[in-house]
Subunit: 245 residues, 2 copies
DNA sequence: GAGTGGTCTAGACCACTAC
DNA sequence: TAGTGGTCTAGACCACTCC
């Protein structure tokens, strides 16, 4: 293990920042360079190391802040709801509707929902936050006949899960889901307010009504890897080490 | 979108490298700096951008080479076998046994396997390759009574999946599995021959015999994110856009 | 306007790899 | 031994955010 300057600085800062609550503003590059008596390149390398380890969030012109990753659990027996999932992890969820347009279902979406291409649907585009930090961005596709009143309903209740329960009388559950790590394109980076090329999750899910099996919606959502630690569980929850049985 | 120098260089190189077969050696930092008439910092930023996008692999003192990510599919209906999974993705798998020691099952492993702590087991530690590039590293835990002859068998056949089939008469399948993205510790980085702090997958799985349901082994495996694009599927394969039906 | 992170120059030395 | 990527200095200008 090389004993480089920036690595030494990074390790120091890791232990210092570990005791700070998430969201605390910390020293900037210039200050770190001065404090440790190094050039800005070394100080910058140290800060970028912390960012790579997802321990801080850096905002151009704004500063550097301690960060916390939230667990986003995906499994067959958990509700397919952003609010529920985030709340279960101990954070505060929030969603903002960017658009809700009537559009024909694209080919790939129609396939996922077992519909004919060009059937009428709604594309609900939202940005979601954990503790008021942007964490997720993406589309929800709902066939019009599943929920004709979606555009008006979404103005009063931001949880699609709740709307489906209350207005469509459905109990949404995951029919299938697929997750992978990708690299943020320009469009995704803009939606997530991160940099192009940052690591992001792509989660695609099809939800159905638990009682009837009817397919309800298709979700294509990007999630910032520095905001959420997506954990995908197959075949029931794997018991964790500190919760035996 | 900012029109920075390094971004312009990176975009140029992306389109140039796209036509090269994986593993091709490409120009180094110094050469890029000269070619585009920029300082080394700009050239370096461009190369690091390509590395972040997982398009190249860089080896200290060795050079920069074009890279390719292999799909590693995990779902209930796929065989829990490294060789099979890699071969299915069109690459050549290889595994090297680092150690195979008789050890008491640690607490957490015993819990996963439904055993009492401190029962006798084997810890099989291996490094695995795709197209001769290090891609995975981790442990397989097998209770001794499942496969007493494992240490000798693994000397002749590198696939644990095959050994379980042939010598234990079992048909291994995934009982449960759990995947997340983590940041490489020093130990993991050494096992994967990557840098500390690089993004890596952690995949933990419990495998059972399809016929009897008997739990066979527990796997804790780290996978380089730049080598494999892990895709996790829940509730059956989600049909892809170009394979409707 | 002050401070921040992002970009960039023109050098330098080093450890490492390949030959 | 030549070339590579990794680290580092001591400056600089910029766009951006916060106040």
């Amino acid at each position: 293990m090389p004993e480089t300057r920036f690595r030494h600085i990074a390790d120091r800062l890791v232990s210092e920042y570990a005791e700070l609550p998430p969201g605390t503003k910390v020293a900037g590059e210039h200050e770190i360079a001065e404090r440790f008596g190094v050039g800005r390149a070394a100080a910058r390398a140290a800060m970028q190391e912390l960012q790579r380890r997802m321990l801080v969030r850096r905002i151009k012109g704004g500063g550097t802040y301690t960060a916390k990753r939230i667990d986003y659990m995906i499994s067959a027996d958990r509700a397919p709801s952003w609010s529920r999932t985030v709340r279960d992890a101990g954070a505060v969820p929030r969603s903002v509707v960017l658009s809700c347009d009537p559009l024909d279902l694209p080919h790939d979406v129609a396939v996922h929902l077992g519909r004919a291409p060009d059937e009428a649907g709604y594309r609900l585009r939202r940005r979601s936050f954990t503790d008021d930090l942007p964490a997720s961005w993406g589309d929800e596709w709902v066939p019009v006949d599943v929920l004709p009143q979606l555009p008006t309903a979404i103005r009063h209740e931001s949880s699609l899960h709740e709307i489906l329960r209350q207005m469509a009388g459905a109990s949404p559950e995951r029919a299938s889901s697929r997750a992978s790590i990708e690299v943020a394109s320009d469009e995704v980076a803009e939606g997530l307010e991160c940099a192009t090329g940052d690591p992001v999750w792509l989660v695609e899910s099809v939800n159905r009504d638990a009682a009837s099996g009817r397919l309800l919606c298709f979700t294509r959502r990007w999630i910032r890897a520095d905001a959420m630690r997506v954990v995908f569980e197959l075949g029931g929850s794997v018991p964790s080490a500190d919760a035996p049985g």
